[in-house]
């Protein structure tokens, strides 16, 4: 507890409050704008008059009518869930081997994984696009999902965590006749719930919000994810602010919902991975 607790507010604290609150308002203003403009007809925004009796959900309905927004949401949901689940599964298996099994070349391979963290994703963007094209995966779910399943960062973070679990547990399980797969599933995975949850939440929001890769490997309208669909929407309806705001609202809702439900896990995930700032 701080020394100031329980005393009356000093003037400096009131000033602090005022500044923090003003900053908070600045942060909230865009969300407030999205909400208000999406709930009134466009004329209301143009006239800057928002009479209560004109509130409507029409913009939301209209957004779903003019672009296949439902399809975008479905695509984003499929891709996000698949990448989150499979990426953590694949990373967890590899991390288990790196942390708790011995094999020739383990340290060298792990260093190689670590080294790839230095390489910006733009370097692999073009070859991966060409690989996807040659595999015949362009404009399919496979293109959106498969390259996202292999993460050096997830593997690294899980390995670091697995190393903190006492090795005695493995040995005890082996004494009881458990193989490595069972040790992974019944000893390691249950003990790493918090770190997996944090990683899952981080991967979920990163995949949901991903922009460059889905932009590059989707071509047709019905394969677009929410951010891509939205960015084309701006191109076509650049002044239909009411519709654009409704679309923006729909696009941020899923992640905001998870954020409010699992606030602690979310912040942990971002802090843990350290790369969530973009």
């Amino acid at each position: 507890m701080r020394p100031n607790e329980g005393k009356t507010l000093a003037p400096s604290q009131i000033a602090l409050y005022a500044i923090l609150a003003a900053g908070g308002l600045v942060m909230l203003a865009p969300f407030f704008t999205i909400l208000v403009v999406s709930l009134w007809p466009n004329q209301a925004f143009l006239a800057r008059r928002f009479p209560l009796e004109q509130i409507t959900l029409n913009n939301y309905l209209e957004t779903f009518r003019v672009i296949p927004f439902g399809r975008y949401i479905l695509n984003s949901a499929i891709v996000t869930v698949a990448v989150t689940v499979l990426q953590i599964l694949i990373s967890s298996l590899a991390a288990f081997a790196f942390a708790r099994l011995r094999f020739r070349g383990r340290e060298g391979l792990f260093l190689l994984y670590l080294a790839t963290l230095m390489i910006p994703s733009q370097v692999t963007l073009i070859p991966n696009f060409l690989i996807i094209k040659n595999l015949g995966w362009y404009d399919t779910y496979l293109a959106l999902i498969v390259p996202g399943l292999f993460s050096a960062l997830s593997t690294f973070l899980l390995r670091q965590y697995y190393r903190t679990i006492p090795l005695d547990l493995d040995e005890a399980a082996r004494m009881d006749g458990a193989g490595s797969l069972r040790i992974w599933l019944q000893v390691i995975v249950p003990l790493s719930g918090p770190v997996m949850a944090a990683l899952a939440v981080f991967t979920f929001q990163a995949t949901w919000n991903d922009f460059l890769w889905p932009l590059v490997v989707t071509g047709s309208q019905h394969m677009r994810t929410v951010p891509i669909g939205l960015s084309y929407f701006v191109g076509q309806y650049s002044t239909a602010w009411n519709l654009l705001m409704a679309g923006s609202m729909i696009s941020v809702l899923p992640v905001l919902l998870i954020y409010f439900l699992a606030q602690k896990t979310f912040v942990q995930g971002i802090t843990l991975t350290g790369l969530g700032g973009r």
Binding site: L20, M27, P30, Q122, L125, V146, F150, S180
Partner: protein, 312 residues
Amino acid sequence: MSHPSATTAVRRNPFRWRPDQQWEAYLFVLPSLLGFLVFVFLAVGASFGISFLDWGLTGPRGVAGLSNYRELLRDPVFWRVFRNTAFYIFTIVPTQLLLGLLIAVALNQALRGQELLRIIYFLPVVTTIVAGAIVFRLLLSRTGPLADLVSNLGELAGLPLRMPDLLGSTQYSKWSVVLLTLWKNTGFTMVIYLAALQGVPKELYDAAHVDGAGAWQRFRNITVPLISPTTFFLFILQTIGAFQLFAEPFVLTRGGPAQSSMTVVHYIYDNAFRFTRMGKASAIAWFLFLFIFGFTVMQNIMQRRWVHYETE
């Protein structure tokens, strides 16, 4: 997948190295390794190779040698987008670190409503960047609410104030990207700084208080040095992020007008997927990598001068 030989080996000596575990281990790594081989290792090699080719979408048209790289050095647009990116790094990174630290220090006091404020400041971080960019298109447009606010304030003060055309002028378009990015990312630096501040031992502050150190002195002589590893980490991370800026200007200004807000990554995208010049685009990507790598190495050398580690 229980191996009988493994268990007998364990019974004999739990810490003995077992050859059969080796194959098991490879199986665990295999799914990940296959993906890395194709989408990372092969891709990195291919990218390097392609940067020396004259490659359109219809296939390799021939070896270009160093000509992609040479062309870049003479390409005025490349230098423009490079300067833009440098501008973003120099404006966004320091501001973001400073604002994040100030908010974190303020929120680290036992304030009422601290929790709520933290949630609010963090909200933009989890927001889809495209949605953020679209609202900023509205907010910053010449007929938008911010322009209203500025001219209303001007009227109140009796001055002919007008908001500059943040989105549509070559002079100011970069600033709109800066504003959007600050709004989006400051909550991130704040959260990381908050975690660091909680790790600073309270006794140090108490001792300094007894010695008569004021708030500023305590901040300057205790907080700043003790969280310098975090500052270093954020500095590297945010600089690398700014080097890779793409979605923000791509949606907000489309890189324009006249490439005035375009970034290096946007130019890679344009070359590869609009002009189908895969070779040139790959060469730009390697330039980018070189700069990021050089920057990181340089900072790791310089950190000895200003980063304070507790183990020392």
